[in-house]
Symmetry: C2
Subunit: 341 residues, 2 copies
Amino acid sequence: MIIDCHGHYTTAPKALLAWREAQIAALANPPSRREKGTIAISDDEIRASLEGAQLKFQRERGTDVTIFSPRAAGMGHHIGDATASLHWSQHCNDLIHRVCTLYPENFVGVCQLPQSPGVPPDTCIGELERCVNELGFIGCNLNPDPSGGHWTAPPLTDRYWYPLYEKMVELDVPAMVHVSSSCNPNFHHTGAHYLNADTTAFMQFVTADLFKDFPALRFVIPHGGGAVPYHWGRYRGLAQDLKRPPLGDLIRDNVFFDTCVYHLAGIELLLRIIPADNILFGSEMVGAIRSIDPETGHYFDDTKRYLDQVRGLTAADQHKIFEGNARKVYPRINQRLAAAV
Amino acid sequence: MIIDCHGHYTTAPKALLAWREAQIAALANPPSRREKGTIAISDDEIRASLEGAQLKFQRERGTDVTIFSPRAAGMGHHIGDATASLHWSQHCNDLIHRVCTLYPENFVGVCQLPQSPGVPPDTCIGELERCVNELGFIGCNLNPDPSGGHWTAPPLTDRYWYPLYEKMVELDVPAMVHVSSSCNPNFHHTGAHYLNADTTAFMQFVTADLFKDFPALRFVIPHGGGAVPYHWGRYRGLAQDLKRPPLGDLIRDNVFFDTCVYHLAGIELLLRIIPADNILFGSEMVGAIRSIDPETGHYFDDTKRYLDQVRGLTAADQHKIFEGNARKVYPRINQRLAAAV
């Protein structure tokens, strides 16, 4: 079985975005009583949104199931307040739940959290519990910068985040560290902000004792870990100079990298540097890059092809990357997949 | 000849830092008339600060000359105002000039600019001219985020920066894109902020027509280009999806990467991905990582060793990376080196 740990519902029916646009327009003059409201999307519309995109690519590329979450750029935690973020997150998560209910063999849910700048993440616990306990989700996406490029929240290693981490550990769900769109003109979202957040989070983990406090807490750093594997020597040296534990010890049970790196040379570096136990297959499909690489004639984000081309990858390691590690990091996937058969 | 394009005076005599600390302390109650003042450092102190460090490493590693600038983390553009930044920058640059005068065969100067948050970079032109025309410097370090981690300045492609670029082109000097320390607790300076800035600047260049406006403008992106070579497929795809020119065209005459990547696998990726015409040897010595890699028994930042180990690097490409490209990107180095013999 091949599990893609990183897929977003970037092709959701237009009614979702229309609801969001109306919500944002209403923020200027909010009504005294704010309600979540409803969004009319039919099952057929959901099917149509997936059949020509994610499902088609699963079939073509030979992958089986995608750990699926709302569009990352769409989370927009910096827009509006915590109530707006909650209503929007609930709609996005509800729609993911419908996808997973329609296609239980193809999609397993990961939730968007209703984060909001300056609001402690404790407020996200209710939605996390709802998604895991009621909707059968297996993890969450955690935004280390709900301000959208101004980086005003404390580092992920600050006790500010601990109540959420306690709940994650209790529910046995991991978080993918994933920022959203950027309202800072310095940062292109998919070309800078995403990768910077990955790099930033990793260095936060290097410099703090978060995993001593939470030995069972697990994070997936997407986009192949940002700049980290390429600069692994720098990080090994920094850890050493700062009297921190060796990186292998740091990441072993707690920090994982996906394979969203869109060329063979990058994937080869990732597999050469990061232990196979800490790599999860991911493609970010349909996502950041939607076109075909003229150098290969294949989609940039068909990351399975790169993995298939890596020489010397043992069958055991291949199994870990494609399936075993996802089952380990997102253990709730096991009951979902068993129920889907 | 081997030219190291990236060295900082991290070992400057203590009197420099003492002056800076006194300056910062005085910011709370600034005198009505603010003066640059003087710093008493003897030639012998300068010699002592280099003989056991940069000069020793040059000899041991077999490199010849370092393009040398003030300590990057020390620039601290976010501290105080433009006057404070000017006085501090002048002292730092004056000291680099003394180093280059004492050791004209070993060091060629690159200046710190007196940037300050919210202050247009036009105010840096005077110091750039002084350093190039009077002190014989051959380039500058340009900080895309003078706020120190809050990223409040416009992108490097904004017309905000154009007056400075006009002067750089007129003087025929490049800039290394280099942030300073971070006052944002999210960003460790050498472990996140530096690499993020490299990644961010590159994506800004991808999305704008800066080099159409300034065909002769040249930037060196340090630290091996941040996350960029590792994610080269992502950037090729983004450029294609955004209808931007191919990356090879973008960087050809304008964007260069140094080799400050502290492990062989990273250097091999860099050389596999980036054309040899766009790579400059650099070590960041003495800098971010000061210790010996227990896996190799050699200093992490001895980047020449990695380059020497890369298989299949032609003599022609080796010459470009070690010498030719530095002479091309920093053309004023030619007269400095000729005068030094």
